[in-house]
Amino acid sequence: MTTAEFLKAITESTGVSGYEKLVRGIVQEQFSAYCDEIRVDPMGSVWGIKRGTVGGRRIMLAGHMDEIGLIVKKIDRHVIRFTSVGGFDDRILPGQPVWVHGKTTMPGVIGMRPPHLMTEEERGKVIARDDLFIDVGLTEEQMADHVRVGDLITLRRGYVELKNGLAASKAMDDRAGVASIFECLQSLQGLHHQWDVYAVATVQEETGLRGAMTSAHGVQPDAAIAIDVTFARTPDTPEIGTVETDKGPGIARGPNIHPAIFEGLVETAKKLEIPYQTEAIPGRSGTDAWAIQVSRQGVPTGLLGLPLRYMHTPSETLALRDVERCGRLMAHFIAGLDESIIGRFRPSLPQE
């Protein structure tokens, strides 16, 4: 399977935070082709372990495989009232096609009252989430047999390729990160690497970095890189704080990032002539890197960002080349790791 095929397969699969079972199956199967061992930890994160030539040292790569979704809050006669798992802009919801994962997986649509029947004033307002509902076509009598409180709902949108190597799908955040790890594992086949690689597809990032926190505790890595999506520039975003699509991954700097990892990634990118963009993050990065950095006695951590347009919508859009660049960058960074970087992880103290 190519990285693009893998990305299509996992983005079209299902895995709302806490319920990553289906997408996990694909990741397990595809990672196993390039890893020596596959494990699933207690929270459900997948570890693909690829042994190095020396071993003993571990680098953890983390991309999250969970996606945002909706969940049944109440059965209200013949419709479903819902809330979200992860952060949605409620304005994208009216008219959105969805899958309702009840007794069976059923297509549904997010409905609202016809605007024709609303007053001018009502039409000027954002529709509150509790005024929206999902219609799966069942009658009130049939509902109880098919849908229960707590059933999950996902966006019903497939993968589509756009011009110039761009692609759009739901759940690019952060299955694209998982795909870049897949790309990295493939690249590593042709490289020698001393360190053991723990390629981790984490769970529950969208509900508080919960899979990364627990996986990092279990893996106990010597260093880590998290791969997540980052904001790509569009006509409605500010220039400061965004990056450009198809200009290479963002390499993050700031308190969340160990300077030796930042510098190592930059050097590797320059050496391989992989384009990259520097991202400054003054505090909380909001990614798995934030949780991994403070695991146990601390983990030197880096963060790579895949430029992504329209985050947390059913059409998250990115350049496939950026995914490939990100994976190749990590692979060569890993191939360059030896004992010398360990000394650079602890700041040297003045001796006099």
Partner: protein, 328 residues
Amino acid sequence: MKDTLKRLTEAFGPSGSEAQVRDLIREEISGLADNVTEDALGNLVAVKKGSGRRVMLAAHMDEIGLIISYIDEKGFLRFGTIGGVGTLGLLGTRVRFADGTVGVIGMEKQDDRSKVPDRASMYIDIGARNRDEVHLRVGDVACLDRPFVDGGSRVMAKAMDDRAGCAVLIEAMRRLDDCPHEVHFAFTTQEEVGLRGATTCAYCVEPEVAIALDVTMTGDTPKAPMNAVSLGQGAAIKVRDGGMLSHPAIKDLMVRRAEENGIPYQLEVLEGGTTDARVMQTSRSGIPTGVISVPCRYVHTPSEMIEMADAEACVNLVTALLVNDISL
């Protein structure tokens, strides 16, 4: 169970000052466990030994409360809150300090009566004539003061959150015999200020499976926030809340045990709020975690209401889980 619940809810125990509740629970569970310990943050853990799974059940002992921030010359006490105390219900409420001192909450003149008063405009009056008559100090804490009311099938009290959960655990301990698992009944501290006791307690216990017992809000009152949980409809099996998602296999196991044993239950999807389960789930390398909730109206007010039959269903669900195989 009702008598236990009355004693528990009337005890004093804002977050960080749980000693009275802890002592009371020690008495209630005396002889019911193989081992009882207390840790650095004041969590009380009672262990029933077994050769099966190591299971942690947690209910928090602490309740919301007030903390003195300033004592003025005339003897009025200004206060901050411990945990999420709504301002709306405070005026005229009585509060009680650890030494039994009772005060009433008063308020400065309000210029705009259409607004919810600001907590900063409120104070506690303990009947002191001046500062010298106040024997309390900045940093002393109070609980809301309200006796337990037995309405028959429905009861109300302060601190039902989460003494109801504590009562369920105690009752389960009483009824449990022949449990194959190593069960750690944890009565935790400081839940209301950030799930702090459970954080260190779960690290200590290192369970294979964890379950929190707490109250949950209902959607069955006039124009309540939309929520499918109702009083009297049985134990609530949590799917998610504002802080965590239950492990699907534990949620499914709970549903199965409830159905096998004819225990009334309802599924819970809560948008805000969370429980000790949030931090137990991410302890160390991660612990499969679920939550059983006692449906409760008027959470975080001095009169939290539950239905005894729901608490009974929670006890039955806990024991049904514990006496059977727990494989996920």
